[in-house]
Amino acid sequence: MKADAELVVSSAPHLRDNRTVGRAMRDVFLALMPVTAVSLYFFRWNALFLISVCLITAVFTEILFRRMMKKEPTLHDWSAVLTGLFVAMLFPATTPWWKAALAVFIGIGLAKELAGGLGRNRFNPALFGLVALMLLSPLVAFLDEQFASLYVSFGTVDVLTQATPLAMLHQGMEMPSYTSLLTAFPGGALGETSPLFLFIGAAYLFYRGHLNWRIPASILLTVAALTAVLGQNPIEHLLVGSLPLGAFFMATDWVTSPFTNKGKVIFGVCIGIGVVIFRLGLAPTEGVAYSILIMNGFVPMIERWTLRPQFGQNRQTMARSVEP
């Protein structure tokens, strides 16, 4: 039969809600704006320069790899610039630009695009970039030597000369007040500047429906409980280092966290345990990035353990034979 030119045909459903990947990523980007503003306030031009380097590298890496793989560019989904901003948040303001750019390049190029693009990556691109630099420290040392004359600085930053709260915690120094830890105690990476402003961003994400509470809640409760049991001050542990950033923004990445609700809790608890082990055992390494990245690798296994029975099927008869 001849199709009527005046009729539009497509498959059901014919309604959709208005959420898209691009909108979600843009919301995460917006949710990072409060802490970005605080870091710009403290670190001024150094922070602006670092963030700019990361964003520009992100865009170029994405375009380069999509071109190489003969795919349409996907800048409109905001995921590349978001990864760029995340990397910037993970570094101190005075980080040499080649280091930050290399982390972005590895994160977006290797961890994301070579894995097949957004959705196919098993590891969080920003954390992968950061940890790759730690593993590639000889290369970084070499680059530091070669590029030393290209180092860009906008003057020293007073606040950077003080010890970071995490280091103070490790060395058993007297800690700043809870209020200053919560609101702003600059010293570490940009994203560690102000837990309060991260919480504001996280609240926005939650309001917009992008944030599942299970992962941050289980990470933070685990860290609090374990540090309390081990005789540490749990509040200080929750507020220092990249734990707030990691728990609310990085561990909750859709692509690299379990899609089952129980799995999210297991994932969060394991990250929490990892963070405490790193902080109390392997000091002074920051364990958040490592813990999340390690657990990213276990996601398929966690999902397989935690599948729910389908409608009308009880737990006993549930087929567990499915392969992930």
Binding site: E6, L7, V8, V9, S11, P13, H14, Q310, G312, E323
Partner: protein, 437 residues
């Protein structure tokens, strides 16, 4: 006993204001009817008429010896001009009887009330003879549903008046305007099944329907239950779970838990069949959407072409348009308006393609899990979509693709715009083919 929500599901804007207060009206007879010989799930009918025959209103024109089937009748009087394959709203060509309608219509005359047979077998025979099928959209022959296997006694009948599909209001209007027939039909269904209770289930966004039914209900064994408005509340298994707390196991029918679910419109048809011997030759159809000039609830003779129905509603506002048989979540977009209204057509939803989605570009699953939260069958649509896309038939089967009820929630919420329902619809026949020895 208060209904508890089933797991999953979603609040979806229901867009019912177009027609929810529009009384059911009758349309002028069309010049031509195309009556498919298969309007139900099961075996198609054989034509009982040939080209040139004169037919009267309500005359049986197709029947089958198969158990799972339902006869079809002439909706209006006229002359048979063709018995041939014609396109249907499902997209398939179906053997159909084409009738040129007489200008002078003799109305259908009801049988005398004293011929009523209210025994169990009498009711089932009347329902079978009237060609009644599930009028909520599925079109399963009702007489078959009234004959449960001997080892699965039915204690409860659920009359489904949820109408969870957005836009549609035909069941709503039937409940408001014809509550007596619904209650009577419900009693007949209960008697035929030997069930104890009838629960008429209505979503709480239709208080006037609940009120109309409650006012007229005098039967102790019938109760009107309001259920939360949540899509897909009207899906059989989800409704049983919400109202009775019973879960129908995968692959099984509601018989397995002692329940039969019938649509409220079907109950009206049962009432008319038992009381008057009236065959199912017309039904209430909602014509609605943001792209139809004059949205209405219409009483339409079975076999009327969509073009005639749409004409009676002032036609399309803008072209191109999307004309959907059924509602926007599960309905089928039509490529032609020369397909007939059948017994199972609940509505015609006409949307402006600018507001309705068309299948655009889609990207990888980003594993956000929204479809997992929404799936009322507690499946994993994310995994299913990945395996269907890659045509991994065995994997798709392992992840219970066959149990998908195609409610559309997963595709509705997907931020990557993945056409998950289309994937599933394409995959199901492949799984069936792979399972055949």
């Amino acid at each position: 006993m208060t209904p508890k929500p089933f797991m999953g599901g979603l609040k979806i804007p229901h867009y019912k204001s177009f027609t929810e207060h529009a009384s059911i009206t009758v349309i002028p007879a069309p010049e031509q009817l195309v009556i498919p010989l298969r309007q139900h799930i099961g075996a198609p009918c054989n034509s009982l008429v040939k080209v040139g025959d004169a037919v009267t209103t309500g005359q049986k024109i197709g029947d089958s010896d198969a158990f799972v089937s339902a006869p079809v009748h002439a909706s209006l009087s006229g002359r048979v001009t063709a018995v041939e394959m014609r396109p249907s709203h499902s997209g398939q060509d179906v053997p159909s009887v084409v009738i040129d309608v007489d200008d002078a219509q003799q109305p259908w005359c009801p049988s005398a009330p004293e011929t009523r047979d209210l025994t169990k077998d009498g009711i089932i025979a009347a329902v079978k003879e009237a060609g009644i099928v599930g009028m909520g959209g599925a079109g399963f022959p009702t007489a078959v549903k009234l004959q449960p296997p001997a080892d699965k006694p039915v204690d409860t009948v659920l009359l489904n008046g949820c109408e969870c599909e957005p836009y549609l209001t035909c069941d709503h209007r039937v409940m408001v305007e014809m509550p007596e027939q619904i209650l009577k039909g419900a009693a007949y269904i209960r008697q035929a099944l030997g069930a104890e209770t009838v629960l008429i289930c209505v979503e709480d966004n239709k208080p006037d329907a609940v009120e109309a039914l409650r006012q007229r209900n005098t039967d102790q064994s019938t109760r009107i239950v309001t259920v939360p408005t949540k899509y897909p509340q009207g899906a059989e298994k989800q409704l049983i779970k919400a109202v009775l707390g019973r879960e129908v196991p995968p692959q099984l029918l509601p018989f397995a838990v002692g329940v039969v679910v019938q649509n409220v419109g079907t109950a009206v048809a049962v009432c008319e069949a038992v009381d008057q011997g009236k065959p199912l030759v017309e039904r209430v159809v909602t014509v609605t959407g943001d792209n139809i000039a004059d949205p209405k609830n219409l009483r339409v003779p079975v076999g009327t072409l969509l073009s005639h129905v749409i004409e009676q509603c002032g036609g399309l506002i803008k072209t191109p348009a999307k004309v959907i048989v059924g509602g926007p979540m599960t309905g089928v977009a039509q490529k032609s308006l020369s397909v007939p209204v059948t017994k199972a057509v609940t509505g015609i939803t006409v949307l402006n393609p600018a507001t309705a989605v068309t299948n655009g570009e889609y990207t990888h699953c980003v594993r956000c899990g929204r479809c997992v939260d929404g799936c009322p069958m507690l499946l994993y649509p994310n995994q299913i979509s990945v395996f269907c896309e890659a045509n991994l038939v065995e994997r798709a089967r392992q992840w219970n693709t066959m149990d998908c009820i195609e409610c559309g929630i997963c595709a509705y919420v997907c931020p990557s715009n993945r056409p998950i329902i289309r994937f599933v619809q394409d995959m199901k026949p492949r799984i069936q083919a792979a399972q055949r020895p």
